[in-house]
């Protein structure tokens, strides 16, 4: 199977509230070859990341949009629905990083992930027919109630949003606000921190990383890529661009038109595909 050396970066400055600052930072990130931009951080949400991701969707073409979703202020019905909309409006580039808000535990985050997935699985990917001639808009046998009941959230469904283009948006876990869910696509971990089983590891790095060690880690399958915190886009992003250049032999071509999962070689986990299948 093909692999892609993933370059990921967090922007959590209040500057993302300013359209001029935000559009220039996002354009620079995309130009540099950054694959994933994480909007906000577990301890820094000076804007609503969902709104910033939605606003960024038509301004960008290839970059994956990873809003932090705080379980303190969100509900799975709203989260599932807004992420579905971002996935459609970005042609399949949505991801999310659920973070536990203050006084909220890991268990709430895990419940949120499972509830959101049950809502996305309420619609088959081929539910819509849209045949003007016969007047049949959708196939009702491909829409179902979720009837999800977890320790914190209870959601009947169906969601009033179609299944995202990617099936489920990419799921990213920041190890500083950890949760455990089967099929987590990527985890952001510190330099010495252990990786998670069956989850791609994005290793936190400085702006002048040891490239030989990172490439060796990627080739050995220890890491899926690198993650940075961007303090100053003007200074930091060119350094990331240099890393992108250095590891270009381990990166797939960024074809526009492909979804984020396709481009990063991260298909939806098989267990999640079968759980979501319609009989």
């Amino acid at each position: 199977m093909n692999r892609h050396f993933i370059l990921s970066a967090t922007i959590s400055q209040p500057g993302l509230n300013d359209p001029a600052w935000a559009s220039s930072a996002l354009a620079a990130a995309e130009r540099a070859g950054i694959d994933l931009v994480v909007l906000g951080a577990p301890n820094s949400l000076p804007f609503d990341p969902i709104v910033v991701a939605a606003w960024a969707a038509p301004m960008t073409e290839k970059i994956g949009l990873v809003p932090c979703v705080s379980t303190a202020v969100s509900h799975p019905f709203h989260a599932a629905r807004s992420l579905s909309a971002i996935d459609f409006l970005s042609s399949g580039r949505s991801a999310w990083n659920p973070v536990a808000g203050s006084a909220h535990s890991k268990a709430v985050t895990e419940d949120m992930v499972l509830a959101a997935r049950s809502l996305w699985d309420g619609w088959a990917s081929d539910a819509l027919i849209i045949d003007k001639e016969t007047g049949r808009y959708l196939d009702a046998s491909k829409v179902r109630l979720s009837n999800y009941e977890g320790p914190h959230f209870k959601v009947r469904g169906p969601l009033n949003a179609a299944r995202p283009l990617q099936g489920h948006p990419l799921l990213v876990c920041d190890a500083s606000s950890p949760f455990e869910a089967v099929g987590t696509d990527l985890a952001i971990v510190d330099a010495q921190q252990a990786t998670l089983p069956n989850t791609g590891c994005l290793r936190r790095a400085g702006l002048n990383p040891d490239l030989t060690a990172l490439v060796a880690g990627f080739e050995a399958g220890d890491i899926a890529g690198v993650h940075w915190e961007i303090d100053d886009p003007g200074q930091d992003i060119p350094k990331i661009a240099a890393v992108a250049e250095a590891v270009s032999g381990f990166r797939q071509d960024m074809q526009s038109g492909a979804t984020l999962r396709e481009r990063l070689c991260l298909p939806l986990a098989e267990q999640l595909v079968s759980e979501g299948a319609f009989a």
Binding site: N17, V51, V52, P58, H78, I130, G135, Y137, V155, N160
Partner: protein, 422 residues
């Protein structure tokens, strides 16, 4: 100066008519694509509209757990849609419907603050309390709180959100806001800088006495159905009295009734066009649509048989008294289910449909404004985007020529465009 007309485009899915998606000029596949929203946002700006408004619901369509097959669903989350549209437009206002019953004020305040900032001050909030009982089941409740309690919460919710927006600090060092009400307990802070508009424009659409009282106390613009000019005058007079009683200036609040339309070069042609769109609503669609309206799935009932009144009252998801009031008379008349359903589709959501020429529509709009029936209109094109294009190309120039509609935007924010002070 002659009184100016404010224009909103109320865009829900693929148009106002349940059968609108089947029209030859409708583009139902496009409603999942960002390019469609870019083009209609820019179309509305070309028409110098004040704002785009997206409605919202917190349940999927249908009844008793059945999803209709012939109605165009689902739609995209309105605030996400408007944020994306904000990135590809420069002037148009962006009014999103968000419920106070199934959100928390901190989250809503942050959402609109960010929307207002990234769009340079173009956000508006259509405040709703959510009425459909199936919404409760998506949020872990067995039943919807009663209307009076929903509105009491809405009052507190809006106050708490306003306190958060007002606390925003340019340096990003906002003081914590503590709110203690009967329905809302909040210990919040407003992250990020002051909103360009201070607060988003507050919009309300309630019709009941509770809804009107709430609008009188909080709304800066009001959306309502007004089937006739007289209905519009009566509603506006009533709201003006309520707004004055609440200690606010009635003239500062814009009343924006819904206006659905089908336009053609002659009245006869418009009627024929309307009938052709209505004909696309086949009996099966009408029965699904009626079932959704009454909260009872009718798919298993014979369209040729009388309305199954007793079954409906026993099985409806809605308060039985409301449905009894709606169906008692037609059921007693013995009308067949299919025939009744087909009639019901002709007045979607209680709004009437204007059928005529662009000149007739422009004349009528000016007449309503000069008669004190409204301050502007919430346009609800029967199908999208074709009918909105005709309005922008043919009605807008007439309104502009008559000196009733701006030729350019007066300033960067929605408040500037609507003439609503912060």
């Amino acid at each position: 100066m002659t009184k100016q007309i404010h224009l909103w485009a109320f865009l829900q899915g693929i148009g106002h008519y349940p059968s609108g998606w089947r029209h030859a000029d409708a583009t139902p596949e496009a409603v999942f694509d960002v390019d469609y929203y870019k083009s209609i946002g820019q179309l509305a700006e070309r028409g110098c509209f004040d704002s785009i408004v997206f409605g919202d619901q917190l349940q999927s369509r249908g009844a008793n757990g059945h999803t209709p097959e012939r109605v165009a669903i689902p739609t995209l989350d309105p605030i996400v849609l408007l944020a994306a549209m904000g990135a590809v437009t420069d002037h148009i206002g962006l009014v999103a419907t968000v419920s106070t019953t199934y959100f928390e004020p901190q989250a809503v305040a942050e959402r609109f603050a960010t929307l207002d900032r990234v769009t340079g001050g173009r956000a508006g909030w259509n405040i709703v309390t959510t009425a459909h009982p199936a919404s409760a089941w998506n949020f872990g409740q067995d039943e919807m709180p009663e209307k009076a309690s929903r509105y009491a919460r809405a009052h507190e919710f809006v106050n708490a959100a306003c306190e958060l927006w007002d606390s925003a600090d340019s340096e990003g060092n906002a003081e914590p806001v503590q709110y203690r009400g009967k329905h809302i307990t909040m210990d919040g802070t407003m992250p990020g800088p002051v909103l360009p508009q201070g607060r988003p424009v507050l919009v309300q659409a309630g019709q009941s006495p509770d809804g009107r009282a709430f609008a009188a106390a909080t709304a800066e613009a009001i959306f309502c159905p007004a089937p006739t000019k007289e209905d519009g005058i009566a509603f506006r007079n009533d709201m003006h009295a309520r707004i004055a009683a609440a200690g606010r200036d009635p003239e500062a609040v814009k009343i924006m009734p819904g206006l659905s339309f089908i336009l053609a070069d002659s009245e006869e042609a418009a009627i024929a066009k309307d009938e052709a769109v209505l004909d696309l609503a086949d009996e099966a669609l009408c029965i699904e649509y009626l079932g959704e309206s009454i909260g009872f799935w009718l798919g298993d009932h014979d369209p040729k048989a009388p309305i199954p009144f007793n079954d409906i009252i026993a099985g409806t998801e809605f308060p039985a008294a409301d449905i009894t009031r709606m169906l008692e008379k037609p059921a007693a008349s013995g009308i067949a289910l299919g025939e009744f359903a087909s009639g019901h589709v002709r007045t979607p959501r209680g709004h009437t449909v204007f059928r005529g020429t662009p000149q007739q529509l422009a004349d009528r709009m000016i007449d309503w404004i000069d008669s004190g029936a409204c301050d502007g209109f919430t346009l609800q094109p029967a199908y999208m985007p074709g009918e909105l294009e005709i309005f922008v190309d043919e009605v807008v120039p007439l309104l502009q020529k008559a000196g009733r509609l701006r030729l350019e935007y007066p300033g960067p924010t929605l408040r500037d465009t609507m003439g609503i002070a912060a």
